[in-house]
């Protein structure tokens, strides 16, 4: 483990049930402020990998350490890690019975014990940051997909996380709304946030990723700087994948 890594995977193995070996011997180190894009075919384990970072998934072998905290059976460790890691989902997962503002203030007020007024101020700041402050009093289902995903990002940011996980944040969006979400993510990357993004937006990967990781069948096949990854993929499997998603 290198001293400065904020996320550290060491020989991590995970199975679904007895037969499905979803993560195989994963070794990964992420430095603070690093932006990593993870791509690969569906079922390759990329979502499972980032979900191990905030303990939404358990693993059976190896060690996952986040900011020096070992994620295992310890419930306290899980709580501590989740306080530092924000997550954005493909399906937004906003709470439909709460207004946008209530979605944002819920965790700061109940988990962070923040007074309501302060939580609302912070929420409005984050909504301004994702350029959606005027929708604060609406319910999530009254917004477009792109707006909902920006609310979801703002909700995660309200807890001032050190690390942000993005699990295919643009895959459920209409094509015209993808860019408004990517713009927010690019802005976030510019602020020095540590980011792990599972995405197939290769333009985004080229623009902001420090490193691109390609996964297949539960393994990390290849990882490289974004430029090298696209210009000179080394592995045949990577070349095959890139030719399929880039050439049309």
């Amino acid at each position: 483990m290198t001293q400065e890594s904020i996320i550290h995977f060491e020989k991590v193995n995970k199975w679904y049930g007895n037969a499905f070996h979803v993560l195989r011997d994963i070794d990964l180190d992420v430095r603070p402020g690093e932006r990593i894009v993870i791509c690969g075919p569906s079922g390759s384990g990329k979502s499972t990998l980032i979900r191990c970072v905030n303990a939404l998934e358990e693993y059976q072998e190896g060690r996952v350490t986040v900011n020096g905290i070992l994620l295992g059976d310890d419930v306290k460790a899980v709580e501590q890690v989740r306080r530092q890691v924000g997550m954005v989902f493909q399906q937004f997962n906003l709470f439909p019975h709460l207004t946008v503002l209530e979605n944002l203030t819920l965790a700061p007020m109940w988990v962070g014990k923040m007074p309501k007024k302060e939580a609302e101020e912070r929420a409005m700041q984050q909504l301004q940051r994702v350029q959606i402050a005027e929708q604060a009093q609406k319910y999530p289902l009254q917004l477009s997909g792109g707006q909902q995903q920006r609310v979801a990002i703002a909700r995660a940011l309200c807890l001032t996380p050190k690390i942000m996980l993005f699990d295919e944040p643009t895959s459920a969006l209409d094509p015209e709304m993808i860019n408004e979400v990517l713009d927010v993510m690019i802005e976030l990357a510019g602020q020095g946030m540590t980011m792990l993004c599972v995405t197939h937006e290769m333009g985004f990967a080229r623009q902001v990723a420090d490193r691109v990781i390609f996964m297949d069948q539960g393994q990390i096949v290849e990882e490289n700087t974004a430029h090298e990854f696209f210009a000179n993929p080394r592995n045949e499997r990577t070349k095959d994948f890139l030719s399929k998603i880039l050439n049309h």
Binding site: R82, M87, F89, N93, A107, V111
Partner: protein, 367 residues
């Protein structure tokens, strides 16, 4: 040269044909089948209506005259039975001179229920209000305070008993049902097993058996000398019975919550109870309003079964009023129509309220 996109200006929808004749044609005489049905039903109504009016109004006896009623038997209704017996039907065996007490007590409780249904009153102090309502209800019914003469609970009866049993068992069963439903989905095997056994056991027996157990068998297990009032035992019986059914309704709602909601709550660091209270239950309970209200209505009517353990609620009090009186015993139908109207008023109100709640919840969530 590039084309520019100019949207067509929106126009109002064509006016729908309105008017009485249009409505009739569309709804009652759409095609020959619909017309035939309309005509047949109309004919049936015209055929039955005179008889119904004759029996219930023109030939009916309204005064409390037993002889006149006997004379009209077979041709006219004897509403006199209600004039004569309504106080026993409504208040059961409660001492006659003291019957203003159950009257006021019931009005207070019904007022409490109505108030609780209005959105403006959904504040924390509503709980305090209910402490007051229950205190007033039991003080009036039991007596022994403020110079009111004590009345034993086995003398309670009629509508006050029905309203009290239904209200209290619903209020007590609801939180229990939520806990049991959550318990049935718990990760802890012990809790899960207890909840499953409880639900399956209760659902496996009829309410009558539960009431029998509560009334006759339970005292056998109590240590010598200690007694629990039969009313309390029956109330606990109905509550446990109702909670098992409600728990399954709540579980249906819990299962409909997408997994992503729980993951989002986990990610934000909410604890199990915070997640249930803030995220899961508000959505799950909103989804099950119709079937939950269905169950409430069911409980309200099921209270009539407590007659078999000698508690004379509305239905029981009706039997009490008529069975021992040879003069009025033949006119049960009229008396039953009377309590039918009372049951219907309560159940219909609940049903309409349920629709209103559904509407309230849906406007707040979608566009």
């Amino acid at each position: 040269m590039a084309d520019t996109f100019t949207p067509v200006a929106p126009r109002p929808a064509p006016a729908a044909a309105a008017g009485m004749s249009m409505w009739l044609r569309r709804n009652l005489f759409g095609d020959w089948r619909s017309s035939l049905t309309t005509v047949l039903l109309l004919a049936l109504g015209v055929y039955l209506l005179p008889g119904v009016l004759q029996w219930s109004l023109f030939q009916a006896v309204f005064g409390a005259h037993a002889d006149a009623c006997q004379a009209a038997r077979g041709s006219g209704a004897c509403w006199g039975v209600i004039t004569e017996k309504w106080r026993i039907i409504i208040f059961g065996r409660y001492p006659f001179e003291e019957q203003w007490r159950p009257e006021v007590a019931t009005l207070v409780m019904v007022a409490g229920l109505v108030v609780s249904c209005i959105r403006w009153f959904w504040r924390p102090w509503l709980a305090l209000l209910w402490v007051g309502v229950l205190a007033v209800f039991f003080a009036l019914m039991l007596g022994g305070v403020l110079g009111l003469s004590p009345v034993r609970t086995d003398l309670w009866g009629g509508l006050p008993l029905t309203v009290m049993l239904a209200t209290l068992s619903i209020f007590l069963a609801f939180p229990l049902a939520v806990l049991v439903a959550l318990g049935r989905r718990s990760n802890l095997p012990a809790i899960r097993t207890v909840c499953i056994v409880y639900i399956e056991l209760i659902r496996g027996v009829p309410l009558i058996s539960v009431l029998f157990m509560a009334s006759f068998m339970f005292p056998l297990f109590m240590p010598q000398g200690t007694t629990i009032d039969v009313l309390v035992r029956v109330l606990v019986g109905i509550t446990l019975f109702a909670a098992a059914y409600m728990a399954e309704i709540v579980r249906g709602g819990l299962q409909a919550i997408p997994k992503g909601q729980l993951e989002a709550a986990d990610t934000l660091g909410l604890s199990y109870w915070q997640t249930q209270r803030k995220i899961v239950l508000p959505q799950a309970l909103a989804m099950v309003v119709p079937s939950m209200m269905n169950n409430f209505i069911s409980i309200f009517k099921d209270t009539s079964l407590v007659t078999i353990v000698s508690l004379y609620e509305l239905t029981g009090a009706l039997g009490l009023a008529l069975n021992s009186d040879v003069n009025w015993r033949p006119f049960k139908i009229e008396a039953y129509l009377f309590i039918t109207a009372i049951y219907f008023a309560f159940c219909f109100a609940m049903s309409r309220y349920s629709l209103w709640v559904e509407k309230q919840l849906s406007v707040s969530r979608t566009r």
